[in-house]
């Protein structure tokens, strides 16, 4: 990275004020990419160092979180290319989604009592880690980090329609994972042999 892109001293406060308030958000996104705490911390550190070095390229008035998410994703992809971390990108998952949808009635019955619980966060985090990477990234950006479809598309480098599709699939898979959690808690019985189970 060239030095001329680094901020002047009087811009340091601006960099800190704008980017460090997004640290939790960037960390969550990095966790969704890496599914590993230590790897996520490495991605976060490299993301912020690159952001600092490139601060002059940030366009004032645009969404700094979207900018940081984009850098984080690029850092993650670069680290994967170097073989530091092997993560399977599964953009298909169609069978799993079909299976989840075929059990929609059972899923809803399982989630109804679960959604009323206040201790759901750990189960949601586990379910997020259990779904394929591509779906998880879309869900985390839109559902947890409040990015629009358009912003998520820019971060992920995919069309808006693909964001919409991945969101739909990711949410259905998450719901099935959570329904299985409800089943484990004894809140619902297993789905019947008839998968329609409405």
């Amino acid at each position: 990275m060239t030095e001329e892109l680094a901020p002047a001293t009087d811009e340091h406060a601006e960099f800190s004020a704008l980017t460090l308030t997004a640290l939790d958000d960037v960390y969550r996104f990095a966790r969704s990419l890496t599914r590993d705490e230590a790897d996520a911390e490495d991605v976060v550190q490299e993301t912020y160092l690159r952001a600092f070095r490139s601060w002059k390229t940030f366009q004032p008035g645009t969404d700094v979180r979207r900018w940081l998410f984009t850098i984080a994703r690029n850092v993650f992809l670069r680290s994967r290319e170097r073989g530091q971390r092997e993560v399977t990108l599964d953009d298909d998952g169609a069978e799993a989604v079909d299976a989840a949808q075929s059990k929609e009635g059972w899923v809803r019955r399982g989630l109804d009592p679960l959604l009323a619980r206040t201790d759901l966060a750990p189960a949601i985090q586990q379910a997020l880690e259990d779904i394929p990477d591509t779906f998880r990234s879309a869900v985390v950006l839109v559902d947890l980090e409040d990015q629009s479809y358009e912003d998520a598309a820019q971060v992920l480098g995919i069309p808006v329609g693909t964001v919409r599709s991945r969101l739909f699939r990711g949410r259905k898979l998450l719901q099935e994972k959570l329904a299985l959690h409800a089943q484990d808690l004894g809140l619902i019985p297993p789905p019947g042999p008839d998968r329609s189970d409405a």
């Binding site: 939790d24 550190q45 912020y48 600092f52 070095r53």
Partner: protein, 90 residues
């Protein structure tokens, strides 16, 4: 069964049409006119209202869960040290 589709601009005529737009509605991705149209159907249809209520509670639960994952103080300290080493002065 709800599907994920693009908005083709066709009028919302039935439950299927409304449910096709459910996540777009909940995500704030519809135009005001489209949103009014979908909401009009949902509020008058018990089945779609129930579906909307379920998905809305699910998305709120996801949003609430984000607070359980935060950067640690250790990471903040490590990050600030790295940035200062890079030249950050403030």
């Amino acid at each position: 069964m709800m599907q994920h589709t693009h908005d083709d601009g066709a009028p919302i005529k039935d439950c299927r049409g409304a449910m096709n737009k459910l996540f777009d509605l909940l995500d704030g991705e519809l135009t005001p006119d489209r949103e009014r149209e979908v909401r009009s159907h949902i509020t008058s249809c018990p089945d779609c209202f129930s579906h909307h209520d379920f998905e809305e509670r699910f998305l709120k639960a996801l949003q609430a869960a984000k607070k359980s994952v935060c950067a640690s103080e250790k990471l903040r300290d490590r990050l600030m040290s790295a940035l200062r080493a890079e030249g950050l002065t403030r």
